[in-house]
Subunit: 347 residues, 2 copies
């Protein structure tokens, strides 16, 4: 078991440290953890947010436990040197094409969302977001038009195999849940979306038990407010997935508890909390490490099929929460280390 | 005063009819209303969702009162024949580049949103969405790659003058409100967004009193759930605006009350309710015409500077609401005509 640990910037290192403690507390045979630099931290040390050494470490491991990247003073840098290029680069270089973002309201924490408790309590959805294509990775630039005007452009595209692959991941996920899949696109305007929709319909023939529906992205953004409980699995492209998965997370309220997986074909995956690097509270021991700890659970489940160990971690987090151990983000006072202690004790 | 009335599909005709009654009740000197066909209705009659006759009528008028377009059985049509091409075509042909979508919770209707009442009550924002550019109108298509795979593509782009124009509209709107403007983009990934951000910053020099901030679109989708009260004016591109303005509308809850304006340079504008054609309840006299009536008020304000008459309509709608006249969408039982009667009476 060889796991890369990329803690990154801001609160990344402190929350990752607690997740590592939890992994170590499980006493997994042959567990090896390999640290690497990413983000602004890597830029300062090596002049690049995703140094070749880091990529080599990633390739030598089975999975990556990722903290967060991003720092106040990197906005002025050229795009390819900014911290977020670390995560974009890892996704592309390692073929991490499927982002799984579960959103469920934790029992007893219905009060944390701005949605009415009875609406929030019904949220139990999984967003499957494509990560390797779309307008993220197409040709882009600023060109000067004939009349001298500057024009920024980015090409959005999806090829059929890219759609097929993520659709299969989503249908398979739906089979393991309530067998309802909603594909989100903007097929009334975008040709990329029309192809997306056509291919998703083709793939649906392989999964006759799954009920497939389609929704325009503007309507999906409305429905996530109006009745988020209607969704089981949502599958969508990189850009719409970026927006909708963040919206869905906020509907849940407790962002400090939400984990995510970015999977390649096979068992390789990168696991990270969905919260960012929060530079304003970094280094103060205030950050809630639960989302990173739950990311470690996802790692054991998806990259090692260690369902029992993954459930053990999840149960320990639930137990700590039930005991009233809550970070500032959940309206409590527990610090980073204290929360880590509580979860380790609950194991 | 020559106003085009394009009622369109589904509930479009019935809600537009009530808005026309309200306009006529004002006894405006020289008011002339000219009807035209759009959407699926126009396709059935003329073979095109935006016939040349309709466009000619639009050009001969000062403003358009628009109902809604869209019908169940048009999904199979080629893209350029679908009902939504009517609205996209009018936007482009008439240079309607600025979509103004106010979102405010009506007093006494805080219960209609799924947000907690104390969060919803603070919503008072205006989304200014660019309508003539972005990935909506770039080159698009499906091509066959060398290896035979199909690929859908759409080019996203903004030129500096397109950004400058909508930015000025948004800054001007902010000057008439609380002087806070939030520009939403995805500059950490998109070159189109980076240019957008650069130009918005350039324009901000012309409006030193307005406080300008920037937000990534994924974060904006979160903040609209977490704390929508933080926003005054939001300016964004066509695609992000499509998603965020619908999300914001649903945060308000009462979609049957929300109007919108799509403005060209000068005083020309198209005014429409933000709800769609709702084919499921069409022709039954159940639709709430208030959003269309309020769109007529926006029309008088923006295209004719008739502030007094616009306010009179708005006050009449508020009065009808206060009297308990509510459509099914607001939890009431009043029908389309009954609501029209109540507003006319309240005038
Ligand atoms: C940091 C940014 C490039 C990234 C994205 O847009 O994918 C982030 O928002 C995410 O969702 O992981
Ligand atoms: C019907 C559709 C093309 C349109 C859009 O995407 O602009 C609609 O959603 C809107 O917001 O007016």
């Amino acid at each position: 078991m060889r796991i890369a640990v990329f803690a990154g910037d801001g609160i990344g290192p402190e929350v990752t440290q607690q997740a590592v403690r939890v992994l170590e507390a499980l006493a997994l045979p042959g567990l090896e953890l390999v640290e690497g630099d990413v983000g602004a931290a890597a830029y300062r040390k090596h002049g690049h947010p995703l140094p070749a050494e880091t990529l080599a470490i990633a390739r030598s491991c089975d999975a990556i436990l990722f903290g967060a990247v991003g720092d106040f003073d990197c906005d002025g840098l050229e795009r390819h040197l900014r911290p977020e290029q670390a995560i974009l680069g890892l996704r592309k270089e390692l073929g991490l094409f499927a982002n799984l973002r579960p959103a469920t309201v934790f029992k007893g924490l219905e009060d944390l969302t701005t949605l009415r408790p009875e609406v929030a309590a019904k949220i139990d959805l999984l967003i499957v977001r494509e990560l390797n294509g779309d307008v993220y990775f197409g040709e882009k630039g600023v060109r000067i038009l004939e009349d001298g005007r500057r024009q920024g452009y980015d090409i959005m595209s999806y090829a059929e195999d890219e759609v097929r692959r993520i659709a299969r991941t989503a249908f398979t996920a739906a089979m393991g849940r309530h067998k309802r899949l909603c594909s989100v696109d903007k097929a009334n305007v975008l040709e990329t979306s029309q192809l997306w929709r056509d291919v998703v319909i083709e793939v649906s023939a392989e999964f006759p038990e799954v009920h497939l529906s389609h929704m325009y992205v503007d309507n999906a953004a409305m429905q996530l407010v109006k009745n988020p409980g209607q969704f089981d699995v949502i599958v969508t492209g990189n850009l719409f997935g970026d927006i909708l998965s963040d919206q869905a997370s906020m509907c849940v309220g407790s962002i400090g508890l939400l984990a995510s997986a970015s999977l390649a074909e096979g068992t390789y995956g990168l696991y990270e909390p969905i919260h960012g690097s929060a530079p304003d509270i970094a280094g103060k021991g205030l950050a809630n490490p639960m989302a990173t700890i739950l990311s470690a659970a996802m790692l054991l489940r998806h990259s090692y099929q260690m369902e029992a160990e993954a459930s053990r971690i999840e149960a320990a987090v639930s137990k700590a929460l039930a005991q009233g151990v809550r970070g500032g983000d959940l309206g409590g006072t527990a610090g980073t280390r204290e929360i880590g202690d509580a979860v380790v004790a609950a194991l």
